[in-house]
Subunit: 345 residues, 2 copies
């Protein structure tokens, strides 16, 4: 901005009376520069307000850019993740940029391509819905960490929360309160090819196993719907219209639980006196006074930070063997769950 033109590495070099190669080395903290020369170069950089040109760096070396694929900005859990990610990179030379991926495999694949085209140094993919084979192909091209898909891979690192355990926390909590007819709302995707590794599937499986462990095998009741307000609403309407409706509804996501609350509200039932409702993700909405939804908390910040750390290991140290990191969820009991009505206890 000084003289119209932006300073380049050559400007810095001539100002410091060194070669461009030397400047480059200082920039990358590479070996082979004397402290004195370091000093001179740094001074010149400061004087000129020089900033390296990421696109040009990318032509030979790295772009110092990390791509983060994010499917749905409306999901209130993702900001936690993002914050964990950007906090982690804040102390480094790297910059995380988010790609709004949409919820279809096609749109997510498009963004992934766009990130590869831009020579990003690494990719963090949040709950991607693309087929596993495609994830592995991507990971062979560019260091990749996947958040929220279960199952390990030789090609990419994975960070997940233990959804089996999370579902068990809710079921055990409800069973301990005396509930028997506990229904579960599952997100059933139309997308094929991503069978057992998505969180929704694992949560449903965790629900089933926990029901069995509590001797409630006969009461297992999974309603396929979607993790959305309308999905939860529709599923709850269906459940409440039955001859013997459940005394507790466990929605696989808070956002769906909100829809359940709406349906319960419309049906004129009271929470938790007439029916208990639980969600998953412990979003800020769940914590709101009038809502006060029992939920399961995943430490999104920690998950994001861990994913970032794993990715940098791959990018910088060239670690090859893959890592699966599984975190433990915790139960957050609130006012939306209580003992079932006496007649049903």
């Amino acid at each position: 901005m000084d003289s119209g033109r932006r300073a380049t590495i050559a400007d810095v070099a001539s100002r410091a009376n060194v070669s461009t190669a030397a400047v480059s080395k200082v920039l990358r903290n590479a070996y082979g520069v004397s402290p004195a020369m370091q000093e001179r170069v740094r001074a010149a950089i400061a004087e000129l307000g020089y900033r390296p040109h990421a696109a040009a760096r990318g032509m030979r070396g790295q772009t110092y850019t990390i791509g983060v694929l994010i499917p749905d900005l409306r999901n209130p859990f993702f900001p936690e993740l993002i914050e964990g990610i950007s906090d982690h990179f804040a102390g480094t030379q790297y910059q995380a940029l988010l790609g709004p991926g949409g919820s279809t495999p096609e749109s997510q694949a498009r963004i992934t391509e766009a990130m590869i085209d831009r020579r990003m140094d690494g990719l963090i993919m949040i709950a991607p819905v693309v087929p596993r084979a495609q994830l592995e192909a991507t990971a062979r091209t560019i260091p990749t960490v996947v958040i929220g898909r279960h199952g390990r891979s030789a090609e990419f690192d994975a960070v997940v929360d233990d959804d089996i355990e999370g579902a068990a926390l809710i079921v055990d909590h409800l069973a301990a309160l005396g509930h028997r007819r506990i229904a579960h709302i599952e997100h059933r995707d139309t997308t094929r090819g991503i069978p057992t590794t998505m969180p929704q599937t694992v949560r449903a499986e965790g629900y089933r196993r926990a029901m069995q462990r509590n001797d409630l095998t006969d009461e297992i009741d999974v309603v396929p719907s979607t993790y959305s307000e309308s999905g939860g609403y529709a599923a709850a309407r269906e459940l409440l219209s039955r001859p013997a409706p459940p005394t507790a509804i466990f929605a696989g996501a808070d956002v769906a639980a909100i829809g359940v609350l709406n349906a319960v509200y419309e049906a004129g039932l009271r929470i938790p006196q007439d029916i208990s409702v639980a969600g998953y993700d412990n979003t800020t909405v769940a914590a709101m006074g009038p809502i006060s939804l029992t939920s399961v908390d995943q430490d999104g910040h920690l998950m994001g930070a861990n994913a970032s750390r794993l990715l940098l290991e791959r990018v910088e140290d060239k670690r090859r063997r893959s890592v699966l990191m599984s975190l433990s969820p915790t139960l957050v009991p609130r006012r939306s769950t209580a003992a079932p009505p006496a007649a049903d206890g």
Copy 2:
């Protein structure tokens, strides 16, 4: 991925028996290529699965990347904006990438720099808190569109919603219901240098003017706080503890209104029988059954799309004169507002 190495423009050129310049022209839909050659080049591109290298393109021409500065992923209004933006670019060669900017001027400036370093073709800045002079400096470097800051600039285009009108919608609505003691919760930033152009300031001003117009000048009551759940909660606690509390509270954002609801709930008051509450932004939370918050709707999707269109005009047509585009908000009345208690009417 075929032979390990990624295909380059030279590979395409030799495959199609043309020059690299010809391939480049086809890529950019530039003049001077015969249909026959076009055909051959496109075929070669398809056969090789060639994709242009964005970083390399950026060295000479454009990067076909648009940077979107987004301050707070938790604000449920922003996803609308983002969707409008990415939908608009979906039909083009451009790819929008989001930079999580944080809420301080420093962090936002950092991301802005990072985007310029990466040779982005243009910038969309959502409700930036950096000083105006800095915005203009940025805009002189790179085509820029600012969303959500009032006041026109010669350097950048601006897309705003008419917050004066939006605040008036709420005040007129409440006044028509019979309210007189209508309080407003304003977001009061500690940041200096951005006085009258932020939405919160304009909304407060709109509230004042509308109160005057309704002959309620003596009742003007602005509580400085923050647009957050805790901010709304604290402000409402303060208001409710007064000898003559307001009969209606107009929070400048839904998220603050939620905090108000919590405080009202805790105080044992009923909504809307004892007190009316209104928000701003018409977020999905506001629409939820148990909440049903009267609010003001801005068409975020349209704002995002307009901002994108303006930016592309600048990037491609090199339009120089700046544009200010102001959209009109609409009132969304719900169950949280009603006539005041008889004694106060």
